[in-house]
Symmetry: C2
Subunit: 215 residues, 2 copies
Amino acid sequence: MAVMPTRTGRPPKISKADIVAAAHRVVETDGVAALTMRRLAKEVGSTAMALYHHVRDREGLLLLLLDEHAAALPRPELPEEPRERVVAAAVALREALSGYPWVVDVLRADDLLSVGALWYPEQIIDAAVRAGTSIEEAVDVYRIIWHYTAGEVGGRAAARGRREEGGGTYREQVFGELDAAEFPRLSEVGARWEELTARDTYAKGVRALVRGLLP
Amino acid sequence: MAVMPTRTGRPPKISKADIVAAAHRVVETDGVAALTMRRLAKEVGSTAMALYHHVRDREGLLLLLLDEHAAALPRPELPEEPRERVVAAAVALREALSGYPWVVDVLRADDLLSVGALWYPEQIIDAAVRAGTSIEEAVDVYRIIWHYTAGEVGGRAAARGRREEGGGTYREQVFGELDAAEFPRLSEVGARWEELTARDTYAKGVRALVRGLLP
DNA sequence: ACCTGAACACCGTTCAAGT
DNA sequence: ACCTGAACACCGTTCAAGT
């Protein structure tokens, strides 16, 4: 039975859990860029400086947020057949991340997900091994799928952000200046680019990777 | 013959070209985060506010920088065989970007590269069509490869950044807390993760995509 | 036309002081 | 032990004024 340590000094007004919960709220509604120490302090009814008693710095706060989020990710049923299993796990991972693109920004640094979300790499690596690869190759498979997934989620998030602020002019400019002799294919596609790139091709890519990587 | 417009008023001290050149220097040596208006002003021997007479805002400056950089990208000889051609173009694109990961950050928003770098999508789409796909499918092929490339370049850049500031502790923490019963494969890999993920698997991934996507 | 200084509304973080 | 206020060293951007 754990003995409660005798606490001394001023009783805490805010807890780490309060902070993380508030941070979650801010990020969810206004994005990761809006998560400033001052804004967060206002949200928990305290000062920015008080936060530094509970988290090391902003980076540490983001990692905390990441862990909390990762622990809540769904672990869907996956098909037994290894190749289908890899595809399904990747699609689930993309699905899990695409609502929270800030996650990709935070952990893009590592090939690995946060502690709470290791279920995905575990499933993918295991399924790859069961499909007949060595464990080393299975790690490659996972990392390649991860890079593809990170690029897709990150790209889509940025595209959405730009759309929201009335962008789209850059793309138009690109196609406007296009030299049809130098870029025949792009000219051929031309105005249809918007329509063609609106389609969701994630699963298609993962299936191609699985077909190309697994024996 | 173009008539020189009669210029009036104060003669310019700094030009757009000066600004872009200085910006290039800053980004090259200290990364895109170090490119602040004030820092850039110091670099060109002016004030931050003077810059706003030559560029719309920081975002516009980055796009300018992007175009300048894109125009200088190499256009290597590519093999004739369509599948090999796609792989070679993708590898060249990755190569071109990996020295300049800030480019990925800037243009992650669009599937498309800057005006100056359309050569790469043109080659990839053209080769895919010559391999037997429809133009619509060829666009998919390009976008899937682009997402994979953006994810790989972005991830590698972030990993390098973290390594430079003595990081790596997060990965260790992840493997430290690992439950071998829940994550048998990750435990099996364990300490070798570092070694396994140091390998360059980009080309392997592109080849898999090409094998899986092209007829 | 081009540049400047001052100002506005922000940042993350540190530090000494209060309770 | 926990919180606060003031301060430091920054941001991007606007605006009125100068040359």
